[in-house]
Symmetry: C2
Subunit: 447 residues, 2 copies
């Protein structure tokens, strides 16, 4: 808390110490002279019931039970967990955990959980793994995003993922909610919260425990009963949750949703070279998107600036640049023109390559041309309101830095596999569909 | 060719030039005084038929037709391609292409295709995309591997992927064959070659053109007819090919197959912390592997060196380290012990973490302990003959450099998602199964 820059007062409670990290220590919460907003409990499991009773006596309304040794350890732990939950219920105290790794709140400057410096941002993360908190904090930073909140849900004896989702749905700092779930205490509750908030902000879920044969893993980790996966899947569809198949896809999905506009449909324009065009087009179709053929009357408009060799096949989407003489400005121009078509909802392209011929123009002229190219690209999300993602399989930085920086500023991501780029576009398409399905969402909407 | 260090003689043929890159130029192949092994043809499409006739007259037996403008451009190009193929057939000249980007052979020091320095290695790559050659050359290097061969197959008018596969199967420099395919000219031929060579070396295929609705992409790229995807899939299974879903998985699969031993079965031991154990176990099961529960009599043997907190659940595979006091040596010890169980065929673990307590030992002592830890890990593939892959989701280098280097030397890869690690293990499991299905393969086998 101190490292995290927490501005409120911290009261360490310990029966033996006098000072901890420079702070005066109290023997019991009952000895603290002032009101306490939140109790953070790290005593041993057997000592939690009396500690909770003292918290209630002190009038504390919220606690974070970091202590482990409850339902995840077996029937004795389960009984102890029920005792603690009963005490809290009777005393009107709500709690996070037990067996969790705390919470992080950017708004409150409160960090009970994440190591190192936490990137602030608009992603709210609810997790049944505490370890994933620290990992994800770093992983969102590498995606140009940050966290508004992190909640390590632990055994969910009192507050559960549905409560956290409802809280984050109403939290103005949170634009996207991502959840790592091992098991639900109350599936119906999560479903109802989902229906209530659907369309307000994206909710992205990774659910572990798909296979019953390995149920013991989730059980011994967070006492979770995984449940029937098909039921969970159907629930996600009906509640408007986006379910992802891979753990880190949680963050890829969150990142693209916070950075690019939503497409009006699922029709994708593809630009690039050779095999990558084929793979991208095929992958988009496999993921449920469409790659519409360019209308005859638009082909000239699209490719008029390119000099294709005489034998090159007419590009009809995908637009294969291969063989065409071109500059970065021309590539960007083709991209921008495709984005103007009313039957193209989003664009995927190779990161534009700077073939600018240095023999023909001065450095200043080239910079001007590249600036124009960057403007044509960034105008697509910013002015035309259509999403763009790019692919760069090569480690060689063909791409001009000026263009890379402009793309970063416009939130246009670059992926190192065609599938990752297509998946990002598919997430935008999917969430746009969810929003259309729940048009009456009353809250301010994510663009 | 010159940059690539080709040792043979190069004869440039050009009607107008006298010297090219310091080499004397001939007006026709017929003017070259010596025997020619390979013709590389880059003249315009219309000029290919006379050029081929001259090659035949000269007694040349092999050509690489880089020239584009054939079947990929429509019916006129198709006719021209048929003409060229007819000429070659009649004259006993075999050729690669047309509409390709050349070949690379590490053994011959011959590079017609790949930009920059090519990492030499044991992966033979057949591709219907020329661009992927250069991209993959860099991508294999980043996976600690290299190429023995690259063949840009182009339109496959004469030689096709089945021919290249047969060649690479018999090439002693090639340990794994990877193929990027857009369409087959002769599926049965590929199937027959596959059956003939099955079990000799891994053959990994990515097939684009899964969706008929986007067939025009492959058609205009390499004049490929994608065919029915289910048929292709069944062919792969029956011929013992490993089909991968994502483009770069070709290289991930090749890399793990060249670096780790094959497992005896599909039963995986998992070590790590918290949620990652749950995700890994669940993912392994989803991918068709088993995560067997540790037998009661083995648990003590496995975890005897660890100090778990009293309430911690007994680890039964996955072995969750969370909460246990431990050093890198102890983690490595657990890993090694699990690998000794006869019902564990392969291991996935968090990259071992060095908790070595500096207050307890000198730097020299710690280095000794870490060396011992590294030996315990690397002994698993090298002495016990079981594969190990590791996961490191964090960007923070918890892991000791000494251990990282030892793991690299032993070919133990680290992945940055749990799914990537599980996929790598699944590839090993799958190829081991293929080898068991084709036990009579006569050729020297990949371990």
């Amino acid at each position: 808390m101190q490292i995290g820059g927490y501005k409120g007062t911290i009261y360490p409670i310990n029966p033996r110490e006098e000072k901890i990290l420079g702070l005066p220590v109290y023997r019991s919460v009952l000895d603290v002279p002032n009101r306490i907003d939140l109790a953070i409990v790290t005593v041993r499991a057997e000592q939690v019931p009396p500690a909770m009773r003292e918290c209630i006596q002190k009038g504390i309304k919220g606690a974070v039970l970091i202590t482990a040794g409850f339902a995840e350890t077996g029937s004795r732990g389960q009984a102890l967990q029920e005792e603690v939950t009963g005490i809290a219920r009777q005393g009107g105290l709500r709690f996070v955990g037990p067996n969790c790794m705390g919470i992080y709140s950017a708004a409150a400057n409160l960090n009970l959980s994440l190591p190192g410096e936490v990137p602030r941002g608009s992603i709210g993360f609810v997790s049944q793994s505490g370890t994933f908190g620290g990992i994800f904090a770093r992983a969102v930073a590498s995606r140009g995003c940050g966290l508004s909140s992190f909640i390590s849900a632990g055994n969910q004896a009192d507050l559960d993922v549905a409560d956290y989702l409802e809280y984050l749905a109403n939290d103005p700092e949170t634009k996207v909610v991502v959840m790592y779930i091992e098991g639900l205490r109350d599936g119906k509750k999560l479903f109802n919260v989902g229906r209530k908030i659907a369309g307000q902000k994206p909710v992205i879920i990774y659910k572990a425990g798909k296979n019953q044969s390995i149920a013991r893993a989730a059980m011994s980790h967070t006492a979770s009963v995984a449940g029937e996966d098909r039921v969970f899947d159907a629930m996600c569809r009906q509640a408007g949750f986006i379910r992802v198949d891979e753990l880190l896809s949680l963050l890829d999905a969150a990142a693209i949703l916070t950075r690019q506009p939503l497409p009006g449909g699922h029709r994708i324009g593809i630009l690039g070279t050779g095999g990558l065009c084929v793979v991208l087009a095929d992958t988009c179709v496999s993921m449920g998107m469409e790659v519409p053929e360019l209308k005859e009357e638009h082909i000239k408009f699209i490719i008029s600036d390119l000099e294709f060799p005489p034998h090159a096949p007419t590009p009809r989407n995908p637009v294969d640049f291969a063989g065409a003489n071109r500059t970065a400005l021309q590539e960007a121009g083709v991209l921008n023109k495709m984005a103007q078509l009313d039957y193209i909802d989003g664009l995927i392209c190779n990161t534009p390559i700077t073939w600018a011929d240095s023999s023909k123009s001065s450095v200043a002229e080239q910079e001007k041309l590249l600036t124009q190219a960057a403007e044509l690209i960034t105008a697509i999300p910013q002015k035309l309101g259509k999403p763009v993602v790019t692919v760069d399989l090569s480690d060689i930085a063909f791409t001009n830095e000026l263009i890379v920086k402009a793309m970063e500023a416009a939130g246009i991501p670059t992926y190192n596999t065609p599938e990752a780029a297509a998946r990002a576009m598919a997430i935008l398409v999917k969430y746009a569909e969810i929003k259309r399905r729940f048009p009456n969402a009353s809250h301010p909407q994510l663009r």
